[in-house]
Protein backbone atom coordinates (compact mmCIF):
# COMPACT_ATOMS: atom_id res chain seq x y z
CA UNK A 1 0.00 0.00 0.00
CA UNK A 2 0.98 3.65 -0.13
CA UNK A 3 2.18 5.10 3.18
CA UNK A 4 2.62 8.84 3.59
CA UNK A 5 4.91 9.86 6.46
CA UNK A 6 4.53 13.46 7.62
CA UNK A 7 7.76 14.63 9.27
CA UNK A 8 11.44 13.90 8.56
CA UNK A 9 12.76 13.33 12.08
CA UNK A 10 13.92 10.18 13.83
CA UNK A 11 10.55 8.42 13.59
CA UNK A 12 10.45 8.91 9.82
CA UNK A 13 14.05 7.79 9.41
CA UNK A 14 13.32 4.55 11.28
CA UNK A 15 9.83 3.77 9.96
CA UNK A 16 10.42 4.60 6.27
CA UNK A 17 13.05 1.88 5.62
CA UNK A 18 10.94 -0.66 7.53
CA UNK A 19 7.86 0.15 5.42
CA UNK A 20 9.93 0.00 2.20
CA UNK A 21 11.33 -3.40 3.17
CA UNK A 22 7.76 -4.67 3.58
CA UNK A 23 7.15 -3.63 -0.05
CA UNK A 24 5.11 -0.50 0.61
CA UNK A 25 5.39 2.72 -1.39
CA UNK A 26 6.52 5.55 0.90
CA UNK A 27 6.03 9.28 0.36
CA UNK A 28 7.53 11.69 2.91
CA UNK A 29 6.06 15.12 3.60
CA UNK A 30 7.99 18.03 5.05
CA UNK A 31 7.47 21.75 5.49
CA UNK A 32 10.03 22.68 2.80
CA UNK A 33 11.65 19.82 0.83
CA UNK A 34 14.61 21.93 -0.32
CA UNK A 35 15.34 23.04 3.24
CA UNK A 36 15.14 19.43 4.46
CA UNK A 37 17.62 18.23 1.83
CA UNK A 38 19.94 21.16 2.59
CA UNK A 39 19.68 21.28 6.38
CA UNK A 40 18.84 17.75 7.58
CA UNK A 41 21.92 15.59 6.92
CA UNK A 42 20.35 12.50 8.50
CA UNK A 43 17.38 12.68 6.16
CA UNK A 44 19.76 13.25 3.23
CA UNK A 45 21.56 10.01 4.20
CA UNK A 46 18.22 8.16 4.28
CA UNK A 47 17.31 9.57 0.86
CA UNK A 48 20.68 8.52 -0.57
CA UNK A 49 20.17 4.96 0.71
CA UNK A 50 16.58 4.78 -0.52
CA UNK A 51 16.25 6.67 -3.81
CA UNK A 52 12.71 5.30 -4.15
CA UNK A 53 11.59 7.59 -1.28
CA UNK A 54 9.71 10.66 -2.54
CA UNK A 55 10.11 13.87 -0.51
CA UNK A 56 7.42 16.48 -1.10
CA UNK A 57 5.67 19.30 0.78
CA UNK A 58 3.14 18.50 3.49
CA UNK A 59 0.36 19.65 1.15
CA UNK A 60 1.58 17.49 -1.76
CA UNK A 61 2.05 14.50 0.56
CA UNK A 62 -1.50 14.85 1.88
CA UNK A 63 -2.78 15.08 -1.71
CA UNK A 64 -0.82 11.93 -2.59
CA UNK A 65 -2.38 9.90 0.23
CA UNK A 66 -4.41 6.86 -0.74
CA UNK A 67 -7.56 5.80 1.14
CA UNK A 68 -6.47 2.18 0.98
CA UNK A 69 -3.11 3.11 2.53
CA UNK A 70 -2.25 5.21 5.53
CA UNK A 71 -0.75 8.48 6.69
CA UNK A 72 1.69 8.64 9.62
CA UNK A 73 1.82 11.71 11.84
CA UNK A 74 5.52 11.72 12.71
CA UNK A 75 5.72 15.47 13.26
CA UNK A 76 7.04 16.62 16.64
CA UNK A 77 4.21 16.69 19.18
CA UNK A 78 4.18 20.36 20.15
CA UNK A 79 4.04 21.61 16.54
CA UNK A 80 2.09 18.88 14.76
CA UNK A 81 -1.37 20.42 15.13
CA UNK A 82 -0.37 23.62 13.32
CA UNK A 83 1.05 21.51 10.49
CA UNK A 84 -1.96 19.17 10.29
CA UNK A 85 -4.85 21.64 10.40
CA UNK A 86 -4.25 22.95 6.82
CA UNK A 87 -4.23 19.32 5.58
CA UNK A 88 -7.63 18.41 7.02
CA UNK A 89 -9.52 18.56 3.75
CA UNK A 90 -6.92 16.54 1.80
CA UNK A 91 -6.82 13.94 4.56
CA UNK A 92 -10.59 13.38 4.67
CA UNK A 93 -11.31 9.66 4.64
CA UNK A 94 -7.68 8.73 5.31
CA UNK A 95 -6.37 6.50 8.07
CA UNK A 96 -3.93 8.57 10.15
CA UNK A 97 -1.52 6.68 12.40
CA UNK A 98 -0.51 9.14 15.12
CA UNK A 99 2.72 8.29 16.94
CA UNK A 100 3.31 11.74 18.48
CA UNK A 101 3.87 12.59 22.14
CA UNK A 102 2.50 15.69 23.91
CA UNK A 103 5.99 16.51 25.03
CA UNK A 104 8.63 19.06 24.20
CA UNK A 105 11.93 17.14 24.34
CA UNK A 106 13.90 20.38 24.50
CA UNK A 107 12.40 21.18 27.92
CA UNK A 108 14.32 20.08 31.00
CA UNK A 109 11.20 18.93 32.87
CA UNK A 110 8.94 16.13 31.74
CA UNK A 111 5.59 17.90 31.69
CA UNK A 112 2.94 16.64 29.27
CA UNK A 113 0.59 19.04 27.47
CA UNK A 114 -2.22 18.15 26.88
CA UNK A 115 -2.72 15.55 29.60
CA UNK A 116 -5.33 13.93 31.85
CA UNK A 117 -8.48 15.66 30.54
CA UNK A 118 -7.35 15.59 26.89
CA UNK A 119 -4.66 13.98 24.74
CA UNK A 120 -2.70 14.84 21.65
CA UNK A 121 -4.36 11.89 19.91
CA UNK A 122 -7.78 13.44 20.52
CA UNK A 123 -6.47 16.85 19.45
CA UNK A 124 -5.16 15.34 16.19
CA UNK A 125 -8.59 13.73 15.63
CA UNK A 126 -10.27 17.12 16.21
CA UNK A 127 -7.77 18.78 13.84
CA UNK A 128 -8.59 16.16 11.17
CA UNK A 129 -12.33 15.61 11.72
CA UNK A 130 -12.79 13.67 8.48
CA UNK A 131 -9.85 11.30 9.09
CA UNK A 132 -9.69 8.08 11.10
CA UNK A 133 -6.96 8.67 13.67
CA UNK A 134 -5.27 5.68 15.34
CA UNK A 135 -2.85 6.38 18.16
CA UNK A 136 -0.08 3.79 18.44
CA UNK A 137 3.65 3.19 18.95
CA UNK A 138 3.87 6.29 21.17
CA UNK A 139 5.03 4.30 24.21
CA UNK A 140 8.37 3.36 22.67
CA UNK A 141 11.72 4.70 21.53
CA UNK A 142 11.66 5.36 17.78
CA UNK A 143 14.21 2.59 17.31
CA UNK A 144 11.83 0.03 18.79
CA UNK A 145 8.74 1.06 16.77
CA UNK A 146 9.64 -0.92 13.64
CA UNK A 147 11.72 -3.53 15.49
CA UNK A 148 10.02 -4.87 18.64
CA UNK A 149 12.69 -7.57 18.88
CA UNK A 150 15.24 -4.86 19.74
CA UNK A 151 13.79 -5.04 23.25
CA UNK A 152 12.68 -8.63 23.64
CA UNK A 153 10.37 -11.22 22.22
CA UNK A 154 7.17 -10.17 23.92
CA UNK A 155 5.90 -6.72 24.78
CA UNK A 156 2.71 -4.82 24.08
CA UNK A 157 1.84 -2.16 21.51
CA UNK A 158 -1.42 -0.27 22.00
CA UNK A 159 -4.13 0.96 19.61
CA UNK A 160 -6.58 3.79 20.35
CA UNK A 161 -9.08 4.98 17.77
CA UNK A 162 -12.75 5.38 16.97
CA UNK A 163 -12.75 3.53 13.62
CA UNK A 164 -12.49 -0.25 13.69
CA UNK A 165 -11.41 -0.59 10.03
CA UNK A 166 -8.64 1.93 10.57
CA UNK A 167 -7.43 0.11 13.68
CA UNK A 168 -7.47 -3.21 11.82
CA UNK A 169 -5.31 -1.75 9.03
CA UNK A 170 -2.80 -0.29 11.50
CA UNK A 171 -2.81 -3.54 13.50
CA UNK A 172 -2.00 -5.53 10.35
CA UNK A 173 0.92 -3.22 9.60
CA UNK A 174 2.23 -3.60 13.17
CA UNK A 175 2.01 -7.39 12.96
CA UNK A 176 3.90 -7.27 9.66
CA UNK A 177 6.66 -5.37 11.51
CA UNK A 178 6.86 -8.21 14.03
CA UNK A 179 4.52 -7.04 16.79
CA UNK A 180 2.72 -9.97 18.41
CA UNK A 181 0.81 -8.39 21.29
CA UNK A 182 -1.30 -5.63 19.69
CA UNK A 183 -3.82 -4.46 22.31
CA UNK A 184 -6.85 -2.42 21.20
CA UNK A 185 -7.66 -0.17 24.19
CA UNK A 186 -10.80 1.36 22.67
CA UNK A 187 -11.68 4.81 21.32
CA UNK A 188 -9.28 7.67 20.68
CA UNK A 189 -9.91 8.88 24.26
CA UNK A 190 -7.74 5.98 25.46
CA UNK A 191 -4.76 7.80 23.92
CA UNK A 192 -4.71 9.64 27.26
CA UNK A 193 -3.59 6.40 28.89
CA UNK A 194 -0.71 5.65 26.55
CA UNK A 195 0.46 9.27 26.27
CA UNK A 196 0.68 9.39 30.08
CA UNK A 197 3.02 6.39 29.99
CA UNK A 198 5.71 8.63 28.54
CA UNK A 199 6.58 9.67 32.05
CA UNK A 200 7.24 6.07 33.10
CA UNK A 201 9.21 5.50 29.92
CA UNK A 202 11.47 8.45 30.80
CA UNK A 203 11.96 7.43 34.45
CA UNK A 204 12.43 3.73 33.71
CA UNK A 205 14.89 4.53 30.89
CA UNK A 206 16.92 6.62 33.32
CA UNK A 207 16.76 3.99 36.08
CA UNK A 208 17.75 1.14 33.75
CA UNK A 209 20.23 3.10 31.65
CA UNK A 210 18.63 2.21 28.33
CA UNK A 211 15.93 3.48 26.00
CA UNK A 212 15.46 -0.04 24.68
CA UNK A 213 12.53 -1.05 26.82
CA UNK A 214 8.95 -2.08 26.30
CA UNK A 215 5.77 -2.42 28.33
CA UNK A 216 4.10 -5.80 28.54
CA UNK A 217 0.58 -6.01 29.88
CA UNK A 218 0.79 -9.31 31.73
CA UNK A 219 -2.57 -11.06 32.10
Amino acid sequence: MKIVILGTGEVCRLLAPAFLSLGHEVVVGTRDPEATMAGNPRYRLLAARHPELRLVSFAAAAEAADRSGLVVNAISGPVCLAALIPLAESLTGQVVMDVSSPYDWSRPDAVLDPVNTDSLGEAVQRALPGSHVVKTLNTLAAQVMPEPGAVGPDHTVFLSGDDETAKARVGDLLRALGWRDVLDLGGIGTARATEMMLRLWIDASRALGTHLLGFKIVR
Copy 2:
Protein backbone atom coordinates in the same frame (compact mmCIF):
# COMPACT_ATOMS: atom_id res chain seq x y z
CA MET B 1 8.51 -6.17 62.32
CA LYS B 2 5.57 -4.00 63.29
CA ILE B 3 3.47 -2.77 60.38
CA VAL B 4 0.86 -0.06 60.88
CA ILE B 5 -1.81 0.09 58.19
CA LEU B 6 -3.76 3.34 58.02
CA GLY B 7 -7.19 2.72 56.46
CA THR B 8 -9.61 -0.19 56.63
CA GLY B 9 -10.65 -0.51 52.99
CA GLU B 10 -9.84 -3.14 50.40
CA VAL B 11 -6.08 -2.53 50.47
CA CYS B 12 -5.97 -3.08 54.23
CA ARG B 13 -8.15 -6.16 54.02
CA LEU B 14 -5.80 -7.73 51.46
CA LEU B 15 -2.42 -6.61 52.83
CA ALA B 16 -3.07 -7.26 56.54
CA PRO B 17 -3.50 -11.07 56.25
CA ALA B 18 -0.46 -11.24 53.95
CA PHE B 19 1.71 -9.34 56.45
CA LEU B 20 0.40 -11.50 59.32
CA SER B 21 1.22 -14.68 57.42
CA LEU B 22 4.80 -13.43 57.01
CA GLY B 23 4.99 -13.21 60.81
CA HIS B 24 4.68 -9.44 61.15
CA GLU B 25 2.71 -7.66 63.88
CA VAL B 26 -0.07 -5.58 62.29
CA VAL B 27 -1.86 -2.59 63.81
CA VAL B 28 -4.70 -0.99 61.84
CA GLY B 29 -5.62 2.67 62.19
CA THR B 30 -9.02 4.11 61.38
CA ARG B 31 -10.86 7.36 61.95
CA ASP B 32 -13.21 5.84 64.56
CA PRO B 33 -12.65 2.20 65.59
CA GLU B 34 -16.18 1.77 66.98
CA ALA B 35 -17.72 3.08 63.78
CA THR B 36 -15.52 0.77 61.69
CA MET B 37 -16.55 -2.29 63.69
CA ALA B 38 -20.22 -1.24 63.52
CA GLY B 39 -20.41 -0.04 59.92
CA ASN B 40 -17.73 -1.92 57.94
CA PRO B 41 -18.85 -5.57 57.77
CA ARG B 42 -15.90 -6.58 55.60
CA TYR B 43 -13.44 -5.27 58.14
CA ARG B 44 -15.43 -7.01 60.90
CA LEU B 45 -15.02 -10.27 58.98
CA LEU B 46 -11.26 -9.69 58.71
CA ALA B 47 -11.08 -8.96 62.43
CA ALA B 48 -13.01 -12.13 63.26
CA ARG B 49 -10.60 -14.20 61.16
CA HIS B 50 -7.53 -12.52 62.62
CA PRO B 51 -8.09 -11.71 66.29
CA GLU B 52 -4.41 -10.75 66.59
CA LEU B 53 -5.14 -7.59 64.51
CA ARG B 54 -5.36 -4.47 66.64
CA LEU B 55 -7.77 -1.76 65.47
CA VAL B 56 -7.12 1.71 66.94
CA SER B 57 -7.56 5.36 66.01
CA PHE B 58 -5.29 6.95 63.41
CA ALA B 59 -3.56 8.87 66.21
CA ALA B 60 -2.99 5.77 68.34
CA ALA B 61 -1.80 3.80 65.31
CA ALA B 62 0.72 6.52 64.44
CA GLU B 63 1.91 6.54 68.07
CA ALA B 64 2.29 2.74 67.94
CA ALA B 65 4.50 2.83 64.83
CA ASP B 66 8.03 1.49 65.16
CA ARG B 67 11.01 3.05 63.36
CA SER B 68 12.30 -0.42 62.50
CA GLY B 69 8.93 -1.30 60.95
CA LEU B 70 6.74 0.56 58.52
CA VAL B 71 3.50 2.45 58.11
CA VAL B 72 1.21 1.87 55.12
CA ASN B 73 -0.91 4.71 53.76
CA ALA B 74 -3.94 2.74 52.59
CA ILE B 75 -6.40 5.61 53.01
CA SER B 76 -8.41 6.55 49.94
CA GLY B 77 -6.42 8.96 47.76
CA PRO B 78 -8.68 12.01 47.77
CA VAL B 79 -8.98 12.12 51.57
CA CYS B 80 -5.66 10.75 52.76
CA LEU B 81 -3.84 14.08 53.11
CA ALA B 82 -6.39 15.46 55.57
CA ALA B 83 -6.02 12.28 57.65
CA LEU B 84 -2.21 12.24 57.49
CA ILE B 85 -1.38 15.87 58.28
CA PRO B 86 -2.33 15.58 62.00
CA LEU B 87 -0.08 12.50 62.26
CA ALA B 88 3.06 14.19 60.94
CA GLU B 89 4.76 14.58 64.30
CA SER B 90 4.04 11.01 65.43
CA LEU B 91 5.27 9.68 62.11
CA THR B 92 8.61 11.52 62.18
CA GLY B 93 11.42 9.10 61.32
CA GLN B 94 9.00 6.41 60.12
CA VAL B 95 9.05 4.64 56.76
CA VAL B 96 5.69 5.29 55.09
CA MET B 97 4.71 3.00 52.22
CA ASP B 98 2.21 4.97 50.15
CA VAL B 99 -0.03 2.87 47.89
CA SER B 100 -2.68 5.54 47.23
CA SER B 101 -3.95 6.78 43.87
CA PRO B 102 -4.86 10.41 43.09
CA TYR B 103 -8.24 9.26 41.92
CA ASP B 104 -11.79 9.41 43.15
CA TRP B 105 -13.28 6.00 42.23
CA SER B 106 -16.81 7.35 42.74
CA ARG B 107 -16.37 9.74 39.80
CA PRO B 108 -17.52 8.55 36.38
CA ASP B 109 -14.50 10.01 34.55
CA ALA B 110 -10.92 8.93 35.10
CA VAL B 111 -9.29 12.25 35.89
CA LEU B 112 -6.24 12.25 38.13
CA ASP B 113 -5.63 15.02 40.68
CA PRO B 114 -2.80 15.86 41.26
CA VAL B 115 -1.09 14.88 38.02
CA ASN B 116 1.77 15.76 35.67
CA THR B 117 3.36 18.63 37.65
CA ASP B 118 2.81 16.97 41.04
CA SER B 119 1.81 13.59 42.47
CA LEU B 120 -0.01 12.29 45.51
CA GLY B 121 3.23 10.59 46.57
CA GLU B 122 4.99 13.96 46.67
CA ALA B 123 2.00 15.50 48.46
CA VAL B 124 2.14 12.73 51.09
CA GLN B 125 5.87 13.40 51.52
CA ARG B 126 5.14 17.13 51.98
CA ALA B 127 2.37 16.31 54.48
CA LEU B 128 4.80 14.12 56.44
CA PRO B 129 8.06 16.05 56.10
CA GLY B 130 9.88 14.03 58.78
CA SER B 131 8.89 10.63 57.32
CA HIS B 132 10.50 8.59 54.54
CA VAL B 133 7.75 8.07 51.97
CA VAL B 134 8.04 5.23 49.46
CA LYS B 135 5.45 5.04 46.70
CA THR B 136 4.77 1.50 45.53
CA LEU B 137 2.10 -1.06 44.56
CA ASN B 138 -0.12 1.75 43.19
CA THR B 139 -0.12 0.32 39.66
CA LEU B 140 -2.11 -2.77 40.62
CA ALA B 141 -5.48 -4.04 41.77
CA ALA B 142 -5.49 -4.48 45.55
CA GLN B 143 -5.86 -8.21 45.07
CA VAL B 144 -2.53 -8.37 43.19
CA MET B 145 -0.52 -6.27 45.67
CA PRO B 146 0.21 -9.11 48.10
CA GLU B 147 -0.06 -11.86 45.48
CA PRO B 148 1.82 -11.06 42.25
CA GLY B 149 1.28 -14.65 41.08
CA ALA B 150 -2.44 -13.88 40.73
CA VAL B 151 -1.48 -12.26 37.42
CA GLY B 152 1.51 -14.22 36.22
CA PRO B 153 5.01 -15.20 37.12
CA ASP B 154 6.81 -12.04 36.05
CA HIS B 155 5.69 -8.45 36.21
CA THR B 156 7.17 -5.28 37.66
CA VAL B 157 6.50 -3.39 40.88
CA PHE B 158 7.95 0.11 41.18
CA LEU B 159 9.58 2.04 44.02
CA SER B 160 9.78 5.85 44.25
CA GLY B 161 11.29 7.58 47.26
CA ASP B 162 14.05 9.87 48.46
CA ASP B 163 15.44 7.60 51.22
CA GLU B 164 17.48 4.58 50.17
CA THR B 165 17.13 2.75 53.49
CA ALA B 166 13.37 3.15 53.39
CA LYS B 167 13.22 1.84 49.81
CA ALA B 168 15.40 -1.14 50.78
CA ARG B 169 13.03 -2.03 53.63
CA VAL B 170 9.95 -1.78 51.41
CA GLY B 171 11.73 -3.73 48.66
CA ASP B 172 12.54 -6.54 51.11
CA LEU B 173 8.88 -6.72 52.16
CA LEU B 174 7.76 -6.86 48.51
CA ARG B 175 10.21 -9.66 47.75
CA ALA B 176 8.91 -11.56 50.80
CA LEU B 177 5.42 -11.27 49.27
CA GLY B 178 6.74 -12.89 46.09
CA TRP B 179 7.67 -9.91 43.94
CA ARG B 180 10.72 -10.65 41.78
CA ASP B 181 11.06 -7.58 39.59
CA VAL B 182 11.23 -4.62 42.02
CA LEU B 183 12.33 -1.57 40.02
CA ASP B 184 13.62 1.51 41.86
CA LEU B 185 12.68 4.46 39.64
CA GLY B 186 14.41 7.11 41.77
CA GLY B 187 13.17 9.89 44.04
CA ILE B 188 9.60 10.50 45.18
CA GLY B 189 9.09 12.70 42.08
CA THR B 190 8.97 9.52 40.00
CA ALA B 191 5.65 8.73 41.69
CA ARG B 192 4.21 10.96 38.95
CA ALA B 193 5.11 8.24 36.45
CA THR B 194 3.47 5.35 38.26
CA GLU B 195 0.40 7.34 39.35
CA MET B 196 -0.18 8.29 35.69
CA MET B 197 -0.25 4.59 34.80
CA LEU B 198 -3.62 4.31 36.54
CA ARG B 199 -5.23 5.49 33.36
CA LEU B 200 -3.71 2.63 31.36
CA TRP B 201 -4.66 0.20 34.11
CA ILE B 202 -8.30 1.33 33.83
CA ASP B 203 -8.42 1.20 30.01
CA ALA B 204 -6.52 -2.09 29.73
CA SER B 205 -8.72 -3.67 32.43
CA ARG B 206 -11.79 -2.66 30.46
CA ALA B 207 -10.33 -3.87 27.13
CA LEU B 208 -9.23 -7.21 28.57
CA GLY B 209 -12.21 -7.75 30.87
CA THR B 210 -10.09 -8.33 33.98
CA HIS B 211 -8.49 -6.34 36.78
CA LEU B 212 -5.91 -9.07 37.19
CA LEU B 213 -3.16 -7.55 35.12
CA GLY B 214 0.37 -6.34 35.67
CA PHE B 215 2.95 -4.19 33.91
CA LYS B 216 6.25 -5.72 32.99
CA ILE B 217 9.07 -3.44 31.95
CA VAL B 218 10.72 -5.60 29.29
CA ARG B 219 14.42 -4.82 28.78
